[in-house]
């Protein structure tokens, strides 16, 4: 994945700002954007977030654009569909083909949805690009999110990267033996990667259990709060 959110979260300029503040701010504004019907408000949020991410946190514009590109694409497609295939009110534009029309309320909804989603993603982007994951997990713990959920997330986080590396290695090994030549072959190769990964994760779970026990694991991962 060329967009390494994790690395950016560690190296941006807002890294050391109180994470609780960042999280509360992001989620708060995201909720407001979600409920609001006010398009100018959404646009403000988008601009503010963009300034926050690129201006203050000094995340490179190219990176932020990459981040925002996927939700942008999805939203655009969704809104186009909303525009043309929904609504029950008066028609404002008739394309002339097969009765596909744009109705007033569909138009309003599509525009609102587009900016709303964009605003929410901007908030999400602000949070995930400036807050390292462990600060995020600590904040969750403070709000009394069940401990098991946090521990699972913490363990999964590290393991995801290790597995991504392994998948990459396996794929390269298969590619080197022409495992991705042709459609059917590619599916077969992918299938064996998935199966292999399943067994590896079972093995890894066992090893992890042993190494954690060797350091006195008693079922709960303790929280470390250094004085910084």
């Amino acid at each position: 994945m060329t967009l390494n959110i994790d690395y950016i979260a560690q190296t941006n300029r807002l890294r050391d700002v109180n994470s609780n503040l960042k999280i509360v701010l992001s989620i708060g504004i995201m909720l407001i954007s979600l409920i609001s019907q006010n398009i100018p408000l959404e646009i403000c949020v988008i601009i503010l977030a963009a300034i926050g991410i690129m201006g203050v946190a000094r995340v490179k514009p190219s990176i932020y654009l990459k981040f925002i590109a996927i939700p942008f694409a999805f939203t655009s497609i969704t809104c186009v569909f909303l525009l043309f295939f929904f609504g029950v009110g008066p028609v404002i534009w008739d394309s002339g083909i097969w009765g596909i029309v744009i109705r007033q309320d569909a138009y309003n909804l599509a525009v609102l949805t587009f900016f709303r989603v964009f605003a929410c993603f901007s908030c999400l982007g602000f949070m995930s690009l400036t807050t390292p994951i462990n600060d995020f997990l600590h904040a969750l713990a403070k709000v009394h999110v069940p401990k098991i959920f946090i521990e699972l997330s913490m363990l999964m986080y590290n393991i995801i990267f290790i597995f991504l590396e392994e998948v990459e290695t396996m794929r390269n090994a298969q590619k080197s033996r022409l495992g991705f030549n042709g459609y059917m072959n590619s599916f077969k190769s992918l299938g064996s990667i998935i199966a292999n990964l399943f067994f590896k994760s079972l093995e890894k779970a066992e090893s992890l259990q042993r190494t954690l026990e060797s350091r006195g694991y008693n079922g709960e991962i303790p929280i470390y709060e250094p004085s910084k």
């Binding site: 913490m154 006195g216 004085s227």
Partner: protein, 277 residues
């Protein structure tokens, strides 16, 4: 300090992984366990801190047998620190400092004391300044050092390391062994498993050779490596410099009286002697 006496351990399918294995580590020693892949080294090491319970035989820590209840195991694990071969199997936390803090926190120490231990351990392994890095951003050697720090932070009396130099470049391997040597001089007993025979004579006081779940030789490096037949029979080899001496003895009639030099400095002394310089 640590004794594994007459250990028998069977896998689920009945094959004996360990067949009457006895290994002892005395205070302040560095002991090396040599054996080929699959000989049983890792399996034996998992007995040292109670992860595995032997089918027969017992494991004594500081003279007392391991009690396999929660309290007993926590006690053993605070005294016997095991570092596994693959650091990716051990580093689980989102940041280095949280990972190293795991052990001391489990021992019930205060946040302040844990912080001190984390700082100290990272300093000892040369990873100060890496506290907030995520482990997957580290290189193999760095991960290994963090894994060692994580065990060090529990202040064990003996450290057990499974193939500590595997996968490391020569400098990395040498750094790890220097670190172990230093820890040993500070009073920690060490037992490592390895097949890096060239580095072993530099650091180990005693060696054990294991083959197919049985100890086939034990003694000081010179005692063990002079039994060339046994060494080769166990899929191992002599240190390169000793092999050179063996060839010189057999092919060029330079007599070493069966006492091949095991390290470069030993070889230098002996060669200079032979050459009358």
């Amino acid at each position: 300090m640590l004794e594994a006496n007459h250990i028998v351990y069977k896998y689920e399918d009945g094959t004996k992984a360990l067949n009457d294995v006895t290994v002892k580590v005395n205070d302040n020693e560095i002991v090396a366990l040599l054996g080929k892949n699959g000989a049983g080294k890792s399996t034996l090491f998992l007995h040292f801190n109670g992860i595995f319970k032997p089918d027969k035989g017992e494991v004594l820590v500081e003279g007392k047998p391991i009690k396999y209840n929660n309290k007993g195991l926590l006690d053993v694990r605070s005294k016997v620190g095991v570092v596994f071969q693959n650091p990716d199997d051990q580093l689980f936390a989102p940041t280095v400092q949280e990972d190293v803090a795991f052990g001391p926190l489990n021992l019930g120490l205060s946040q302040e004391e844990v912080e001190n231990r984390v700082k100290e351990s990272l300093k000892k392994v040369g990873m100060s300044g890496f506290e907030r890095k995520p482990p997957h951003h580290l290189s193999g050697g760095q991960k290994k050092r963090v894994a060692i720090a994580g065990v060090l932070a529990m202040k064990p009396k003996i450290m057990v390391l499974d193939e500590p130099t595997s996968g490391l470049d020569p400098k990395g391997a040498s750094q790890v062994l220097k670190l172990l040597y230093k820890l040993n001089s500070e009073g920690i007993s060490i037992i490592i498993s390895t097949h890096d025979v060239d580095l072993v004579p530099l650091y180990a006081n005693r060696l054990y050779v294991i083959k197919e779940g049985q100890i086939i030789k034990e003694g000081t490096p010179s005692e063990v490596f002079s039994d060339v037949k046994t060494i080769r029979g166990a899929n191992l080899r002599l240190p390169r410099i000793a092999h050179l001496a063996e060839i010189l003895e057999k092919e060029d009639s330079i007599d070493f009286e069966g006492e091949y030099p095991l390290t470069i400095s030993q070889a230098r002394n002996q060669f200079l002697e032979k050459l009358d310089l």
